[in-house]
Amino acid sequence: MQDKDAEIAELKNRLSEMEDALQAIRGGEVDAFVMDGKTGKQVYTLRGADESYRVLVERMHESAVTVSSDGTVLYGNTALAILLGKPLPQIVGGSIFDFVSPGSHAALRDMLQPPLKPGRRRELIFIGAKDEPCPALMSTALLPADGIDAVTAIITDLREQRRMIELSAAERFARSVLEQATEAVIVCDGGGYVVQMSNAAEGLLRDVRGMHYSDVFHQVVDARPDDMAPPARVSDVVGAALQGKTVRNLEVTANGQQEEFRFFLLSAGPLLNSHDQPMGCILTLTNVSDRRAAETRQRLLMDELNHRVKNTLAAVQSIASHTGRSAPSIDAFRHDFGGRLLALARAHDLLTQQAWHSAMLRDVLRGALAPFLSDRRERIRIIDGPRIQLTPNAAVTLGMGVHELATNAAKYGALSNTAGRVTLGWSLEGPAAGGQAVEIVWQESDGPPVKAPQRRGFGSRLIERGIAGEFGGRVEMDYRPEGFCCTARLPLSEKAYL
């Protein structure tokens, strides 16, 4: 009985020791096990030299799988679970063929063909999460310890690589579209920096890649948005596009290719990524500098036209008033007034041809004489002199004056009989170094006896005072017996110039 009690006590002690030992192991108080090996006891450390390799395999991005020749998955790392979209307990112990597309089974069988060996590579389609096909490169890397008919393989997910290839192709496509686009297109990233621009845009502006849009465009000149609130600044427009909105046709200014100030219609829209999220914006530009210049010019012309109409009406009123004062009868008034209006109109015609910049002296003189040339062509001789340009007012005044000279000649002078003649010519007089004047000479001959007029009419006043006053020159009218002669000496100035 005592023996049995002692045996029970001994067994209790041993059980207690074992429980303590187990507790120590469970509590992490040991770092190695001593076990029976082929050559005696072997020490197995819990954190051995292969720990770092094991961690490396566990954490690497590529999938690692140990698979037996019959296709049983004996081991898989975390990346494999991610690739296949399943927890590892559902993968390990199963058949790798269940996770590979049937189209790749033959290639997989080929890889697992005994004898297994490292260095085999095949591209296979795995079945990923939600049955998504995952192209991957599987390559056998190493064989486990002797006696296990299995091989460890590395599986490289090719989806990212494929995406990069597709992205790269898409980017090449987009770039070629941009380069060939006839529209001026600018692409900004999410921060508003220019990342790409079409050739047309580069032609309009310059290479502004890398610049912030606010350094490219200055201000909104004219806000004409489609939506209700008109944005006041370029930043509002581009900001709206970066947030996914589209804004069309805002007039902005920017420095042009040659640093000149130019006007553009700017439209902005979001650049969306594959999830339809804005990742930047696309700006399109239309150069409206020419239109803008035309509008400015048109406004100037309208002002000028208004001014001229007023001047012309004042001139007509003055002609009517003076003609009325000297006309002996209604018929005479009608004749004289009509002739003078015609002379005014001819001068205007000449000026209109030159867009009211200037008229040639030669054309002004010939225009004023045109009504008299029709039946007296051989009796009126015009001797061309140097090219002289006249300002609009100077041209009108001179044209009207010559008209009065010709009218007087037709009424009283050399053109009033059948034998008289008129010679009109001009030349430059005086030193070239300054003080040069154009001298215009109207010389009548073979007319009826010359008589100085009893009183000065509108025509005489226009010639003597009007022309002299307009040009700041001198006009002499000489009623010499052999023929009337009028000499106008007009200094070269901004009104009459070479």
Partner: protein
């Protein structure tokens, strides 16, 4: 009458030699003797160390038969087929069928 399905959990330590053997051996045995009437889940204690404490696993590999009852544990690489068959109660099942 169809036999009650087996539910097996195998706890392994990464791709160590015994763990690989254990997976291969139990898979073969199941295929041969249970003909698909089982579920096998393999847990890697390296990846989920807290499992060892949860299920009181002392060493890897350890196979736990959860169903049919009683629960049985078997430590080792499961290379001794007779021992595994006996522990899983497959000998009696085969005899009955």
């Amino acid at each position: 009458m169809r036999d009650e399905p087996y539910r097996l959990h195998l706890y392994v330590a990464g791709n160590t030699e015994r763990s690989l053997r254990a997976v291969r051996n139990i898979r073969r045995l199941c295929d041969e003797r249970l003909h698909g009437n089982y579920s096998l889940e393999v847990f890697d204690l390296y990846q989920e160390p807290q499992l060892a404490a949860d299920v009181q696993v002392l060493a890897a590999p350890t196979l736990i038969k959860l169903l049919p009852l009683p629960v049985r544990r078997l430590v080792g690489d499961l290379a001794n087929r007779d021992k595994v068959v006996a522990a899983l109660g497959l000998a009696a099942r085969t005899a009955l069928s």
